[in-house]
């Protein structure tokens, strides 16, 4: 019977050895423990004795060759008849006791079943460590589907439901009994529910294991009553030619509710001013020439944001909310700037938190990311709330301004119009200058004309000469 001797791990975790010299040749008769060859490992030069007595049939490695642990290095015919590999004990099929001449590397033991594994398995040649399979490591196929440990028959009349052993960290089984009063929802879903004022106990769960999904919550939100009593829409009279029914998206419905709440609670006053922003335009052009600013998009919106935030710091009462009682003004310590963005879902107002710490680059970067995120529909729920003052850029649509409606809970909102060349008087002469209109709406319950005007003027002054303002602080 042909026995293979495979390169052993001679020193606790070695992975290979270099053949130094053979002490035997093909045809030699060898006894057990006779030295066959000398090898060099990372730690030592080692003589390898023969596990078998018999005749050397084949030397499988050359002097100088580096052989991985587990690879056969010599074949010896031990003179015994070839046998069926019946009684090799589990795990003892090592170091060359293959079952047939030239058998595959994975010498099977009785409880392994198939003789030729389809994929090369890890060839555990020696005690403990052994050699990684030659191919890229692959996953052993599992019987049970991912994450589901068994399917439990449901109550009479209901379909079978999989029971997830979700809490199976090292065997700790968390069996959730469906049907009790406990609400199953993950933290991100619970947060969303809170943001949308949805009561989880009333949501129909459709997730695995009876959990409430993100969609379940947003669906429920569309059917919720809004807390603010808002006048409902008047039933429209039918129009000649008929009308197509276009269901409003969730976002659109939410926008409608928010606008209603805001407009019919807070007395809105809007003031506007036109500003000569020629200097700002020059600054923007200069910025675009700078290679180190190439990745940032610096636009009039950037400066409007900076200007509004500065004004909010200068006049804290514009960065505030009226509390529910109507008796207290909550002046916010941070400026979380809401920016209205037209997204595929409709109008969304994500915010830049702590906008007061941002310099020009920081603001450009934050705005860039905010707009990109919102336009791709990926704004997170927590970013869609909590702003303290808002900026809306109507200039991108090519208009000059308007009467923006306050973002619910805030007391001011600034609309930035388009920058367009207009006749302007400079030193007594009419010249063409870049001009933009700013329109500020504010809640006249708590912001009077003086404050509103000062805020608007400060923003205008900033935009008129942002470089000086930024340089001098």
């Amino acid at each position: 019977m042909l026995q293979e001797f495979r390169m052993p791990d001679a020193g606790e975790g070695l992975t290979e050895a270099e053949v130094l010299s053979w002490r035997v040749a093909v045809g030699d008769v060898v006894t057990v423990n006779q030295v066959l060859l000398e090898v060099e490992t990372a730690k030592a030069a080692v003589e390898l004795p023969s596990p078998y007595a018999g005749t050397v049939v084949d030397l499988l490695a050359e002097p100088g060759e580096v052989v991985p642990v587990g690879q056969p290095i010599i074949r010896i015919d031990d003179g015994r008849a070839d046998e069926v590999p019946a009684e090799s004990a589990p795990g003892s099929a090592r170091a060359g006791e293959t079952d047939a001449p030239g058998a595959g590397p994975a010498a099977p033991s009785p409880d392994r079943g198939t003789a030729e594994p389809a994929a090369p398995q890890r060839q555990a040649v020696l005690v403990g460590y052994g050699v990684r399979a030659e191919q890229a490591p692959r996953r052993r196929p599992r019987i049970t589907p991912h994450g589901v440990d068994h399917v439990e028959p449901g109550p009479p009349g209901e379909p079978a439901r999989p029971v997830r052993h979700g809490g199976l960290e090292l065997g700790r089984t968390l069996e959730r009994r469906l049907g009790d009063a406990q609400v199953l929802a993950k933290p991100p879903v619970r947060r969303l529910a809170r943001d949308l004022s949805v009561d989880l106990a009333e949501v129909v769960p459709t997730g695995p294991g009876g959990t409430i999904t993100h969609e379940d919550v947003t669906r429920a939100a569309s059917g919720e009553h809004v807390r603010h009593p808002a006048p409902t829409a008047i039933a429209p009279a039918p129009v000649e030619g008929g009308s197509e029914v276009v269901p409003l998206s969730h976002v659109a419905r939410m926008m409608g509710r928010a606008m209603t709440a805001s407009a019919f609670t807070a007395p809105h006053v809007t003031e506007w001013v036109d500003v000569d922003v020629t200097a700002m335009s020059a600054l923007i052009r200069a910025a675009r020439q700078r290679p180190d600013l190439a990745e940032l998009t610096i636009t009039p919106l950037t400066f409007a944001a900076l200007g509004l935030v500065r004004a909010a710091r200068e006049h804290p009462r514009i960065n505030a909310s009226l509390d529910e009682s109507g008796d207290n003004l909550l002046v916010h310590r941070s400026v979380h700037l809401g920016v209205a963005v037209d997204s595929p879902r409709g109008l969304v107002v994500p915010r830049i938190a702590e906008a007061q710490v941002l310099d020009l680059r920081g603001m450009a970067d934050a705005l860039g990311r905010l707009v990109e995120t919102a336009r791709s529909g990926r704004s997170r729920p927590e970013d869609l709330r909590g702003s303290t003052i808002t900026l809306t850029n109507v200039g991108v649509f090519g208009v000059d301004g308007g009467t923006p409606i306050l973002n619910s809970g805030e007391v001011a909102i600034l609309a930035l119009g388009r920058v367009v060349a207009r006749p302007w008087v400079v030193d007594g002469l009419v010249v063409a200058r870049d001009v933009v209109t700013l329109a500020l709406s504010f809640d006249h319950r708590v912001v009077d004309g003086a404050l509103g005007s000062r805020v608007l003027r400060d923003v205008a002054d900033f935009l008129a000469d942002p470089a000086t303002a930024l340089a001098l602080g």
């Binding site: 975790g13 990372a42 730690k43 005690v127 460590y129 490591p137 996953r139 994450g147 979700g166 090292l170």
Partner: protein, 319 residues
């Protein structure tokens, strides 16, 4: 990796004459894993010291040397033998800087080959990092690959705080390209984790010997798995980990040490605090079972492998 460590040690010793190497068999033999090979011949017996066979003695005298202004790089020959030195490490090394109000600098590196998977007998396959991460005053780092080993040993030696330097012994013979000319200042930060593989579905956080295993698992799986090499265990680079989990929403921590009371628990608690609203699944841990490291013949069942890691990914994704 053994050679990378050796090269890094030689460089550090050549640059700073206060750096000493001390431990059992580190001098003439060059270390049982040859990590200190040739150092005694180059730098002499005064700087590369074969110590008497006593771990408490190794660390205790290292403390004294550090007090005198030296920078000893002490070796504990195997992870399972660190315990006689546990007292000196936790009560002295970790505290003398504090107790002396900064007057005493414990510029000590304690090198320890650790981890299993080499078919060894008892006490040669342990992962004791949790005991020491629990000890304020100590820092712990662990390279997973030869390039990091080279960089990190130099940085650890240069650092004024005491650093436990865990070397994954089953990776000692891994080979990789190492830039041995890189100046110290240009090396990546020592106490930072590194995202090795970007993904979207889940984050695998690992260190030392498990890094290669996790990379293999990520390669073998169709899902998009992010793999982070923690590199620094104390302090943990939480910002990197949190940033990742914020994106993926799922974290699986993989370590050889037993799960109960293991460092994965610390990561899980911290990440849950920071990323609660981003977590799509609880933080899962894959590690050793609650039994002493088993006989070598079944160590492959005990140690996390590709299948165990992916099984945990299955569970995380099922939420």
């Amino acid at each position: 990796m053994a050679k990378a460590l050796n090269t890094g040690l030689a460089l550090a010793m050549g640059q700073d004459e206060k750096v000493l190497v001390m431990g059992e068999d580190v001098g003439r033999l060059g270390g049982v894993f040859r990590v200190t090979d040739g150092l005694q011949a180059t730098f002499g017996e005064d700087r590369v010291i074969d110590t008497p066979l006593a771990e408490s003695g190794i660390i205790g005298t290292a403390v004294g040397l550090a007090m005198r202004g030296y920078a000893p790089v002490a070796e504990i020959q195997f992870d399972g033998f660190i315990f006689p030195a546990f007292d000196q490490i936790t009560t002295q090394v970790a505290r003398l800087h504090l107790r002396s109000a900064g007057a005493l600098t414990m510029r000590i590196v304690i090198r320890v080959p650790n981890g299993g998977g080499i078919g060894a007998v008892e006490h040669h396959s342990e992962s004791p990092e949790a005991y020491f991460a629990h000890t304020p005053g100590l820092r712990i780092v662990t390279p997973s690959n030869p390039a990091d080993a080279f960089a990190m040993i130099r940085q650890a030696i240069a650092h004024p705080d005491p650093i436990l330097f865990l070397e994954p012994k089953r990776r000692y013979w891994d080979k990789a390209e190492v830039d041995v000319d890189a100046p110290l200042a240009a090396l990546p930060e020592l106490f930072r984790a590194r995202v090795l593989r970007r993904g979207h579905d889940a984050t695998l956080l690992c260190w030392g010997p498990m890094v290669r295993t996790c990379l293999d698992a990520a390669e073998a799986d169709a899902r998009d798995l992010e793999v982070i090499d923690a590199r620094s265990l104390a302090p943990l680079d939480l910002p990197t980990i949190v940033e990742s989990v914020t994106r993926t929403g799922r974290l699986i921590v993989v370590h050889e040490a037993p799960v109960v009371g293991g460092l994965g628990a610390e990561v899980a608690a911290s990440v849950t605090s920071e990323c609660f609203y981003q977590l799509e699944a609880p933080v899962l841990r894959v590690g050793g079972f609650h039994a002493p490291y088993p006989p070598a013949r079944i160590e492959d069942v005990y140690l996390p492998d590709l299948d165990r890691i992916l099984e945990a990914v299955d569970r995380a994704m099922a939420y």
